[in-house]
Amino acid sequence: MSFFLAAAAFCASGYALLWLLRLATGRLAVDLAASWFVGTGFYSLAVFVLRFLFGVPYTALSALAVLALPPAALAGAWASGRRSPGAAPPGSVAPPSPARLVPRPVWLFAPLAAYVLFTAAVTVLHGVNTPTQTDDALRVRALAPVLAFRDEWNAEARGVLVMSGPIPTFVPSLGWRLTGSVDQFHVNGSILLGLVALLLLSVALPSARGSPERGWASAFAVLSLPLFVYHCTATYADATLAIYLGAAFLFFIEFGLGADEADGKRAMLLLVGAAMVKREGEITAGAVAAVLLAQAAWQGRRSGEALLRRLLLLCLPLVPVLVARVFLVGWRSAFPFLSVAAQRAVEAAPQVQSAPALAVQARVVPAFVWSVFSSGSGGIVYWVLAAVLALQLGAVRRRGAAWTLAAVLLLFAEVAVTSLWLFPAFTVDQSTVNRQMLPLAVATALWLAALLAPGAPLPVAGAISARAGPAEPGEKRRREGKRRRP
């Protein structure tokens, strides 16, 4: 019960924050799903910074104060008349097409929906039933919330926290903090609730924009990734990272399709959350954020760079997180990938490579190719991606999916560099490469679903014109006519 109370508190806090930031869509299902990600992200960030930059102990009182802050601020804003709770938040455009719930053709999508509901139910039930039993989970991922509950941070505990990241550390611990007792299953529950929120967002967001086909196809594509489905039950943080990144990616896709500034901001807000999962989170989310910022800069060439500045502002809360992390474990451990990359740059030089290292090098490329195409960890998603890239690049651009494709390719490049160059031994022995690809697999699946699903994805130009409100018949012709007149 305490788990569901904690989940409700996260959602309430996140929902209020969405309204405060004027990023609520006004669609309950979409806002509810997004509020889980925003609420958990805000809570983890605030508690982490308060604890490690300002020394505020992590108690039930401080936890409740953090959670109550957004609703209180929203209530204050409403009371002072600065926000109208019923009004559509400025910055978000009217939905380009009316919301539609039933995908067409029904005969095609009914089995997909059945698969989604059945697989999601089995995954959730199995995950909820399964005690923590994997090594990394027992030593790091599920241990970190226990350390948060104890709120005693010696050097080793700080190391575990940094490895796990603020979200996997503080989210499962809220229910324990409030009740004073530990129920180990909250760790799995947090991951599974994230999965449910991702699936809800996958279906509800495109449906709210008039394309339930894209919504169900997205959920189907995500649940067709075998290793991802299993990892949602394995108490590792790889699935959590993939879930947060996937949620952000859904809004990024909408930003690409509709050029709605608010979607860009929502995507960036959720990417801040993804950056707080594992040590790899900031690099993975950073790749997508970089492309999002590039798109904002590109679109702002003529209209000024206000959106770029606003997106950068949304990233600012990460700065104290990074500062707190340096405080906790020092520079080298706070950014382990930089030190590993520097070390690897020396080791990888041909003149210093040992015979075993050279043997690993010889086997790493086939092992990586096997992981991508033959392991089945990502289903057949990379085969489909290859086909689309080979045959339909033009359609990608026409359908407003070019920037999101750039993000997918950048994620792929990251995985390739890590697997082939930074940690080739882990690729050859198949100990990390497939789970490292989970965020990439989820992003790729969502991107492909958005591109390939029937229904009518909104052309970019049409979306921009929709900012002024829904076009009436003949309006486009009238506008063109106006432009032609001297």
Partner: protein, 387 residues
């Protein structure tokens, strides 16, 4: 085991088998006649009298032939090699008391080493207490050969009695054996263990040819897309290429999903148990004695107790699980010869004199002075505390 009622026994015994058949049906339905290897004409099952088994089997514990059958005491690990060279399948009628996990592998006398019984693939069955029947498909195990012998490993605590044994000998020729192996491995369920992290299963299409399912599916997808491209060009672009790719992707993904579900479902436990203590006691699927001990320790120890845990030799799994399940209590692993003990991830450091209780599973070490046994699930799985 304490607290397990009769209806639950029935569920435990029947439910996974039911799902396994459902899953297999799904796979068969989805893949129809395209399964790797023709359905092998299986040899009939043959019976091996228990008295013969008692004479010819090799075990690391004394084998007792009684009126009930062949009796084995299980505490820690009891191994049994059956004199059934090349057996493909076993049907075991049994009677069991206590908590027993049965792992099955195949050993080839010519091999230099025994395969790791934890795999991959890790083939195990939880033995429900009371009378029951187990079907073991040995073709699913790693390194099955016609020269191999079935090797059963019984872990836990209690008595396991074989009351009847049937087996299916290997096929008459190499081709039928290869087809049977390919088919069995293709249909075999995922076996989840504590090292199932990076790869859920190796997706063999035909293990004897070392070909992979996802290569087949990928090329099938490529052929479908190729046909779409040909149609696109031939029909002067009246065919929408992107939609054709979508349909090809959907068709191949449906096959991939059918295979995935057919392998994943038997490994899942989708029956909701509301009580977390029951979930800990019952759902350490491949470590039932450990789960029972963890649940008992949670019920026995006080919230503020400082605990030392220990397992067999260098076993890291049991101490990590116990310390995690006993959180937020301070908990360390009792390593022999150490003055100061460390917790997993080295968060806590405690000495023996700091400890209030010890949780021990399968350890060879005696109970340290000053502690007395207060509860246990078996002779070697117990809780001791200071009086």
């Amino acid at each position: 085991m304490a607290g397990r009622s009769a209806p639950e026994k029935g569920l435990l015994a029947r439910e996974p088998a039911r799902r396994r058949w459902l899953a297999r049906g799904l796979a068969l339905l989805a893949l129809a006649l395209s399964l790797p290897g023709a359905p092998a004409r299986a040899a009939p099952m043959e019976e091996l009298p228990v008295s013969v088994l008692a004479r010819a089997a090799k075990a690391n514990v004394p084998l007792v032939l009684s009126s009930r059958g062949l009796e084995l005491e299980v505490e820690r690990q009891t191994s049994l090699v059956l004199p059934l060279k090349g057996a493909q399948e076993l049907g075991i009628d049994y009677q069991s008391s206590g908590i027993v996990l049965l792992t099955y592998i195949t050993v080839d006398p010519a091999a230099r080493s025994l395969p790791d019984h934890r795999g991959p693939p890790y083939r195990y069955k939880r033995v429900a207490p009371g009378r029951g029947h187990l079907d073991l498909d040995l073709l699913e195990t790693a390194r099955w050969t016609r020269n191999g012998f079935p090797y059963l490993l019984l872990e836990g605590a209690g008595k396991f009695t074989i009351t009847g044994l049937r087996y299916r000998p290997s096929g008459p020729d190499d081709a039928s054996v290869r087809a049977a192996v390919d088919r069995a491995v293709f249909l075999s369920p995922v076996s989840i263990g504590f090292t199932t992290i990076n790869l859920l299963y190796v997706p063999w299409w035909r293990i004897t040819e070392r070909t992979f399912l996802y290569n087949r599916l990928g090329w099938a997808f490529a052929v479908l897309v190729g046909l779409a491209v040909a149609g696109f060009l031939g029909l002067r672009r009246r065919l929408e290429l992107l939609r054709s790719i979508a349909l090809a992707a959907l068709a191949v993904t449906a096959l991939s999903d059918a295979v995935f579900l057919s392998k994943f479902l038997p490994a899942t436990r989708p029956l909701l148990r509301l009580d977390p203590e029951e979930r800990i006691r019952e759902n350490y699927y491949y470590a039932p004695k450990l789960g029972a001990l963890a649940a008992l320790a949670r019920a026995t120890l006080r919230p503020g107790d400082r605990v030392g845990v220990r397992g067999l030799g260098a076993d890291w799994f049991a101490p990590e699980v116990l310390c995690f399940d006993l959180a937020p209590r301070r908990c360390v692993t009792l390593a022999p010869g150490e003055r100061e003990y460390l917790s997993p991830s080295r968060i806590d450091r405690l000495r023996l004199e700091d400890l209030d209780a010890i949780v021990s599973i399968d350890s060879d070490e005696p109970i340290p002075p000053g502690f007395v046994r207060v509860a246990g699930v078996s002779a070697n799985a117990f809780i001791a505390r200071r009086p």
